[in-house]
Structures are given as structure tokens and as C-alpha cells.
């Protein structure tokens, strides 16, 4: 099923002027060793008036970075960002951001928080108060003007965030995972309020740009959904959602769209066919293999549940069943696939015979199976083991492996890779890690009597 459209061109005869346009925008960090860590591969993205655009992607896909580049908070490493056709230089004048953690100043009252951007624009005291009161009223916070943020619930705090963002009447409203920090019910409530504010059209806001990692949210809110892949960040697909509002989660077409997105996300890297912005995906060259950040316990549990479901299930349905976000589920699926325990095709995950054996095995046998397949398929673990064995005392400092990984990953990612490697290595009993001395080492062989008494540890 092909949902890839070229935006609104098919409907209208003419191409509307984009409000914001990113041309061949990239973000990378140069290493001293001439290696480049590419966070975002060159991509083109345009935001048109009259639409809510949702940017969807797993963590690490650079979606928050892209938001900051489009608003001018961060500078792109290469490429241009155009506002009404002219390149920007610093934060844009007519944008607002609603933040994931609300970003309210705890020492200012609700009213003072909403007034702050007006203060920055030199609006008089009376004018500020009038506009802020009106804004707070429209988000339903009338009466809370003198409260401090810590007296409010999460949902109310985000409403203040909305009020503050809208009081300056921005042309484009940006939202960085605005509902992630809220509970399910409050998030649902605020989503409908956002749509209400949008459809009322009382604001001069002409477009809304929402970053999210929740697939359902993206389809519920977006007129247009852009899906980012990671490593490096690039556009996997960009399509319009033509479902009428209010949207129904149970509607078969809704499910089809969500399923399609899961397909896109679980498709292996390097698939340029789905990328709307053609040249962008070409920058995705074969990279140093990345260890997916899943714990061994998570993978084991996932396989057992999958085995229970007759060994084959829709990724969408698994996510629904486990109430997992894509950031929780995809690394587990990738990890299981890397180890050869599952196979992913067309948005479905299927358990392999090896995976089935693993799921049904007792704890000690599980460790053995894991160890065998890890040593065969996981490059990093193989590398660590070989390096440790090459030394007579079987031990090496952290920095040794850190420096190798540093060439290919950012500092933060390198640390996470090593942490995951330690977790897998310990479980599989390939090596151990002394966090005090910061060294990897291969533990001494335990005598046979002790091995029988040993109880396997679940991590």
C-alpha cells in the first residue's frame, strides 16, 4: 500500500509558498581524527501554511535537533534554512516553542511566565496583563494567574506553556514532544484542546510543527507525517493523512497508517525508495555496526511472549499489547533480530527456530545459547573478547575500547554502547567489568563444584 504523496500538490493546482524551508540541512560533529559523526544526513524539509506537521522518529534520529535547527536555536552544520525565502541567522522572530518539560520559570507566577515574552518585546505593563489574561482564559486557566508552577499539575503546567507560546501570536508554533511528560488521560485531553485551538482559527498561527515519538499521536494530530530514521537521521517517508477529524483510533484506515509507519521503521537501513527527499537518503552509507540498546532480560521476555503468540505477530500489535513506545520496542526487536532470534518482514516479527529454542530453554541453557549467537553475530562483543584474550592477564582498561568507538559515535553514544556491551557480555559470561578500576576482564574459570551451585542471574 502506497501512501507516499507529494504533499498537497496533487490536490491544489499550484504549489503554496513554504513558510520554512530546510535545504540540504545537515548536522555533524568533526572528530580530530578526520572522522565525521553524522547526526542528520543532508535533508530537505518544507513547512507549508495551513497544516499540522508531525515529525516522528525513534530517539537518536535527531528530531529534536532538527526542530532546533528549523527554529534557529541551533545552527546547521551545512545547508540553509529559509524563512519566507530568506536565510535565517539566529532564533527566528515569529516562532514559539512548547517544551517537553514545560520550561516554566519556577520563581515566576503563571501570569508572569506568560507575560515574559511580551516583556521581552517591550509591551507595556497594561498591555501585557490584558493579553496574558485573555490567553490564560482561552487555555482554561482563568483564576490561576497568581499560582506558582509547583502548585500546578503537569497538564496545567503545559497549558501555561501553550499560553506563553501563543501569547506572542507566532507564525509557526513548534512543539517538542509536548505530551510525553504527561499521563495518558491528560495527554489525550490536551491533544483535543490543541486541535480545538487550531481549528478555531482565532490565532494568526499558520502552521504547527510537532515532534513526537508516539506513532498514534502523530497520526491523530498530523495533517502531514514525516518519519525520520536514525544513524544518521534522515527522512524515511513523508505523507499526508487525509482522515477527517475527529480521528478514530479504531478506524481501519487509522490502523493501516500506523501499521505502515511500523513497517517503515522496522525496514532495514539504507532503503532510499521510501525517502521523499531523494538525495537525502543517499548519504546513509554503511556504518560501524551499532548495538541496539536493549537489555538481555527485555529480549528474553519479548521472545517468550512472542512464542506464546504462535511465534508471529504484527509489530504494531506487539506494541499495543505491551503498551510500549517505539523507543522501548524497536531496540528490543533490533536486538533480537541481530542475534538471529527473530526475523522482521513487512511490519511483522516472526520467531526463528533458534529463538524458539531460546524462549523455551531453562535459564542456564539460555545463557549458553545467547553466548553462542552473540559471539557469532555481534561484532563489538567479538572484538572485546578477542582483545582481552590477546593479553596474558586478560584485562584492558575502558579507555581502550572507548577510543575505538569514539571514532564512530558521539561521546554520549559511545558510553551507551559500552554500557549495553557490558550488560550483554556479563549475561553471556563472555567477560566482566570492574567499574571501580574501570577495566574489562575475563574472569577466572570457576571450579566445577561451584558451577553447579551457581544460580543464573537475570539482568
Amino acid at each position: 500500500m502506497n501512501l507516499v504523496w507529494r504533499g498537497s500538490i496533487a490536490i491544489m493546482g499550484s504549489v503554496p509558498e513554504p513558510l520554512i524551508e530546510a535545504r540540504q540541512v545537515e548536522k555533524f560533529y568533526e572528530q580530530p581524527s578526520d572522522n565525521r559523526i553524522q547526526v542528520i544526513a543532508p535533508l530537505d524539509l518544507a513547512v507549508y501554511p495551513g497544516e499540522i506537521l508531525t515529525l516522528l522518529g525513534p530517539s537518536g534520529s535527531g528530531k529534536s535537533t532538527l526542530l532546533r535547527i528549523l527554529t534557529g536555536l541551533s545552527a546547521a552544520s551545512a545547508g540553509q534554512v529559509l524563512w519566507h525565502g530568506s536565510p535565517i541567522n539566529g532564533p527566528c522572530e515569529n516562532v514559539s516553542i512548547v517544551f517537553q518539560s514545560f520550561a516554566l520559570f519556577p520563581w515566576l507566577t503563571v501570569l508572569e511566565n506568560v507575560e515574559a515574552p511580551l516583556k521581552a518585546r517591550g509591551v507595556s505593563e497594561a498591555g501585557r496583563a490584558a493579553r496574558s489574561f485573555k490567553m490564560l482564559d482561552s487555555v482554561g486557566l482563568d483564576g490561576f494567574e497568581n499560582a506558582y508552577p509547583k502548585e500546578l499539575s503537569g497538564g496545567m503546567k503545559q497549558r501555561v506553556g501553550f499560553a506563553r507560546a501563543l501569547v506572542v501570536e507566532p507564525e509557526v508554533l513548534f512543539m517538542d514532544e509536548p505530551f510525553s511528560a504527561l499521563d495518558v488521560l491528560t495527554a489525550e485531553n490536551l491533544r483535543s484542546e490543541l486541535l480545538e485551538l487550531w481549528e478555531d482559527k482565532k490565532m494568526p498561527t499558520r502552521a504547527v510543527f510537532i515532534v513526537t515519538h508516539n506513532i498514534e499521536e502523530a497520526v491523530l494530530l498530523g495533517d502531514r507525517v514525516v518519519v525520520l530514521g536514525k544513524n544518521p537521521g534522515r527522512i524515511r517517508t513523508d505523507f499526508r493523512v487525509d482522515l477527517p477529524r475527529p480521528r478514530d483510533r479504531k478506524h481501519p484506515r487509522f490502523n493501516k497508517i500506523v501499521d505502515f509507519i511500523y513497517q517503515v521503521l522496522t525496514k532495514p537501513d539504507g532503503d532510499a525508495a521510501l525517502a521523499l527527499s531523494g538525495p537525502a537518503a543517499a548519504a546513509a552509507q554503511p556504518k560501524y555496526p551499532m548495538l541496539p540498546h536493549a537489555r538481555t532480560g527485555g529480549i528474553a521476555g519479548f521472545l517468550e511472549i512472542l512464542a506464546d503468540h504462535n511465534g508471529r505477530e504484527d509489530v504494531y500489535r506487539m506494541a499495543d499489547l505491551l503498551s510500549f513506545e517505539i523507543d522501548d520496542l524497536l531496540p528490543i526487536v533490533e536486538g533480537a533480530a541481530l542475534l538471529g532470534f527473530v526475523k522482521v518482514t513487512e511490519g511483522d516479527v516472526e520467531i526463528t527456530p533458534e529463538g524458539l529454542e531460546f524462549a523455551n530453554a531453562p535459564i542456564l541453557r539460555q545463557k549458553e545459547l545467547f553466548r553462542n549467537t552473540a559471539l557469532e553475530h555481534v561484532a563489538l562483543l567479538k572484538q572485546i573478547k578477542r582483545a582481552l584474550e590477546s593479553k596474558s592477564d586478560h584485562t584492558l582498561p575502558d579507555d581502550f575500547f572507548h577510543d575505538i568507538l569514539d571514532e564512530h559515535f558521539s561521546e554520549e553514544e559511545t558510553v551507551r554502547q559500552l554500557e549495553t556491551a557490558i550488560n550483554w557480555g556479563r549475561y553471556a559470561e563472555i567477560f566482566d567489568h570492574d567499574s571501580e578500576r574501570k577495566r574489562f576482564f575475563i574472569p577466572e574459570e570457576t571450579p566445577p563444584e561451584q558451577q553447579q551451585v551457581e544460580v543464573g542471574t537475570e539482568t
Binding site: 539566529g90 517544551f99 518539560s101
Partner: protein, 555 residues
Amino acid sequence: MDAIVFALLFAVIYAIVAVARYWFSAPVAAVEISLSPAAIPRYAFYSLVRMIVAYLLSLVFAVAYGYFAAYHKRAEGPMLALLDILQSIPVLSFLPGVMLAMVSLFPSRQLGVEFGSIILIFTGQVWNMAFSFYASLKAVPRELMEASRVYRFSPLQRFLQLELPQGAIGLVWNSMVSVAGGWFFLMACEMFVLGKRDFRLPGLGSYLQSAASAGDTAAITWGIAAMIGVVVLIDQLVWRPAIAWSDKFKLEQVESSGAHSSGVLNLLRKSPLLSRLRDGITTPLMERFYLSAAREKPEVKSAPSNWQRAFLVLAGLVALLFILHGVFQGLLVLRAITPAEIVTTLESAGATFLRVLAALVIASAWTIPAGVAIGFNPRLARVAQPLAQIAASVPATALFPVLLLGLVSLGGGLNTGSILLMLLGTQWYILFNVIAGAIAIPSEFREVADIFRFGQIERWRTVILPAIFPYLITGLVTASGGAWNASIVAEYFHFKGQVLSTFGLGAEISSATDAGNFALLLLSTIVMATLVVSVNRLVWRPLYRRAETRYRIEA
């Protein structure tokens, strides 16, 4: 209510005028200290004024320093390193030198010595406040920073609405610590006598010293009472309200139950006079600032122009030349040192080091068990903590002459006396921190020890000592710094017309100044500074790191 506030304002204005009149009066050769209790309020007032001036200076400088360091990447490294070293140097080791310098610089003796004392207090106070402000700037949550950029805050608005509030809590707590330290230095400055030269200033410190010299017990009692009174008054009128006010700036998301309250703060908040002042003067002024800031075009961050870069390079070169010149001159002076003197200096450094060590060990020996006992018993803690706080804020240097009086009559010398003084000044830091550490031990840890029937030794080894380790280290570091400072005054003292001294680095510094031997003074000051900084780097820093990684209890 209003009348009180108004009276306060009136008193402040009178104070400023009175002080100005005193400072610029005709020079007096030596200061006469009256021992009558009636003179105490005046002396207390003078001491207070010195503290206030020094503190305000420190606050402004600390904020400026921290701000600059946080926002200029290239300067950050050197500025932090400088701060670290200056923080560890024992301030009182410069007391003799600074006083001499100031007196020769200023025509009026009063002014010279006053400025000397203010500079010394400033040097002792400013660095930890600067570091605290710097650290809070670095800890500004990223999204708040981004919000201030997206919503186009001017630098002024950002400072007033984001940066200053962010740093407020740290500044309040560090001010408390700094001012406590400041009293310590001030008292030492006020009673400073070097041979023929009398650098004493009229104040509580000199009062107590004269009283002890004369053996006047009534005066001594009045003096100590006044000291405690001033400290408690400041605590109630300044620090408690400040802490209650700074609760507003806690970065917490939910209202916590540990809120502080203060009667004085409520008084100030309700005062109609103050609010009228605010509405009439400050608010319109601020509005005008904001308006003009909004009209300015937003700055585009461009690379520093060539002129600016050239200026910076030039400034750097000048500073470098200055430093080199100073070092060169210093080395020339040092050439006068004989090898024998070097040996003596090193030996005396060793002696003082051992004394500091002894003081720390003795202090720990009683404060650790006491602190743990208090910390485990909440009712006891509620009584003991404020008492310990008051005891800690009474500057040990003020009590030193009194202590000596007792010691001399018992027949002891300065060898034990100096250790006692160090103890007096520093054991409270260890006690506080141990109490705080004991309170912080999660009750589950103690429950584990109970259920598995840990013996006393195991309980201490496995649960208590590791848990209080980070707090203990903090206490020990502060105590050690305080002990080194105390050694200057404690090892060489003018008492009842004679000089009491003992073999040590502090004594060497003071006696060298007394004899006018500048070479020796320079050498011994450098040795002390180097010793303290090295111990800091080699001993305390690694222990801190350990405390942060292995011994940290995560919530």
C-alpha cells in the same frame, strides 16, 4: 509595622554617616580600647560595618566573576583553576603582609588598616560564592535557556529572570558560610599586633583581646555575650528570612513539605512602605530598562572583531609580563635566604602539619560518634543542630585570647594552645556534616542491619561509615582549611606584653613580619600556600571523587 521598617532605614542612613565620619577623621597613632561594657555596642557596630562592606563587595565580585567564567569558554578553564587555588590558600597567611602594605599605601592609618581588614575578609569570602554562582549558571536547565532565547529575552531580562534566581539558593547558603568565615578573619584582624606596630581596630575582637590581656573577667563575659548576641541576631534577622525567601527559587516541580518560614520575612513582605517603594520607584525603572532593551536590535553572534582579539591578546601579554616581573622580583628577594632557613621553614611546616592532623584526629574522634548519635535521634537533633550552628558561628579567633588566659593560668604553652584553637574553630564543621550524613542514611539500611543482626563493628564498617563518607570528607576539608588559617594566629601571639610562640609555620610567618625579614616572610607564605594546595589536590580531591562515585547513595 511600617514604623519598624522606617526606623530601620533611618538607622542604616545614620550608620553610613557615622562610619564615614570615623574613617576620614584625623589619624590616630594607636587605638585605645575601652574596657567598659558601655563601649560594646559601638565596637559591635564597627565590626558589623566592616563585615557588611566586605560582604557586599564579595557578592558583586562573585556574581561578576561567576558570570564571566560561565559564558566565556576560553577564559573558563584558567578562571576556574585560579579560583580553586585561591580558595585553598589560607587567607590569614597574608594578614601580616597585607596590613603592612595597606598602612604604607594610605595616609590615614585608620583607612589603611580598615581597608586591609576588608580586603582580607573579601579574599576569604569571595571565591566560594563565585564558584557557587558559576556552578548554578552551568546547571541552568537547558530548556529554560532555550525558552529565554526563543522568546527573545534581552541579557538583562535573562539575568534577572533566569540566571540570578537560578543562583539565589547557592548564593544564600554560600553567603552564610562565607560570612561565618569572615567573622573568623575579622576578629583576627582586629586584634592584630606586630611587635611595636599596633594594627588593632576598634571592634569586638580587640575588645575581647584587651579584656583578656587585662584579666577583666566581667568584660570578657560581656564581650562573649555580645559576640553571641550579634551572631544570633544576624541569623534571625538576615539568614533565616533569606533562606525562607530562597525557597521560592527551588527548582522543584512539586511543593515539598520542607518549606522554611520566617517571621521577619513576613514582616517585610507585608510592609506597605516597601511595596510603595517598589511600585513607585523600582517597577517604573525596570519597565524603562525592558523597553529600551526590547528596542535594540537583537545581537547576531558574530566572531570577535580583530580589534577585540588584538586587545585581548595585548591584555594577556600585559598580565603575563606582570606575573613574570612579580615572580622575578620575588626570586631576587628569596636569594637572601640561607639554606639553614630553608630547612627550618620546612621543619616548621612539618610541625604545623602535624598539629593540623592532630586537631583533625581529635575532632573526628568525638564528633563522629556524637554526630551519628545525634543524627539517629531526631528529637536530639532538633535541639542539638541549632545549638551547634550557633557554636560554629561564634568565631574561634574571638575566643582565643580568653582561651589563652585560662591556659596560661594553668601553666600550658602555645603548643597545646594552638591545637586547642584549631579544634575550637573547626570541629563544628565536622560535627554538622556528620549529623547531616547520619540523617541522610536511608532507614532501610538501618533496618537491614537490624534484621541481619549486625554487630557494632560491622554496622559501622558496612553501613554507617560508608554512608557518611561524602559528608565526612566535606567536613574534614573545611576543618583542615580552617585549622591552617588558625595556625597563623594560634602559633604566635602577643599577650600581656610578651610574645607567646611555638615552633611552627604560622609562627614563622608572624615572627618574620615582626622582625621585618621579608625574604623569610615570602618563603614561608609560599610554603604554606603550596602545602595546603598540594594536600588539597593529592588527598582531598581523590577522596571527593571516590565519595561521588562509589559512596553516593542514589535516591
